[in-house]
Symmetry: C2
Subunit: 117 residues, 2 copies
Amino acid sequence: MIRKAQELKREVIKGLRGGQGEVEIVHLLEADKNEFNGKGKLFAKFTLKPGVSIGWHQHSGDFEAYYILGGRGLVNDNGREAPVQAGDMVLTRNGEYHSIVNNGAEDLVFIALILLA
Amino acid sequence: MIRKAQELKREVIKGLRGGQGEVEIVHLLEADKNEFNGKGKLFAKFTLKPGVSIGWHQHSGDFEAYYILGGRGLVNDNGREAPVQAGDMVLTRNGEYHSIVNNGAEDLVFIALILLA
C-alpha cells in the first residue's frame, strides 16, 4: 500500500508535553488503523520551528527513538544535555526521560518511533 | 542514549534480495543489541544510487514501511508498480511482496522499519 505525501495524516500540537510553540507531526503509520500490529504507537516525522520544544517527559511502558534529519537541537537525554544534528540518533528507553528544543535557525526535523516495551 | 551520526552501524550490501548494485544501510536501532525489545528487526536509513535496486521479495512473519526522504524510485507494491518520491510511504504487510529501484538521477534515500507481525 502506498500513501502519497499529501495523504499522510497531519497534526499540529501546541505545548507538547509542556513544551513551547507548535509541533507539526506527519504520521507515517497510524495506530488507530492497527498499522503497528500492536508493536508500537508512533512512527512519524516531527518538525519544530526555531524556539519550539517538546517538554521533559518520561517513557513508561514504551521506548522512543529520534533520528535527526535536519536542523539543530538540544536534547536532555535522561538528565544529560547534548546538541543533536542531522544523522544523530537519540534512544529513550522504558523508564527514561527526555526533552528536545530547536535551538538553531532552521527547522528541526526528525523521525520519531515509539515501540512498546 | 545518544549515538552520533559517525557512531551508527553502517553496512553495504551487494545484490540485496537479488537487486542490482550496492545498497548502503545506516542502522538506527540494532536488533543484535536488543534495541527493538523483540518488537522489530530493522530501523535504518537506506541509500540507493541511481540504477540500484532491492529485488522483489515477500515479507513473512513481519511487515515493512518505507518513508522516502529524497530521490525518485519505482516501487512494485505487491504487484502494482508506482513511482515514489520524498514524503511518500510504502507499507508492505505480512505476506505481501515488494521491490524498489532508483530510477532517478539523484540518490534514493528512505527510512525502512520492519516490525514483527
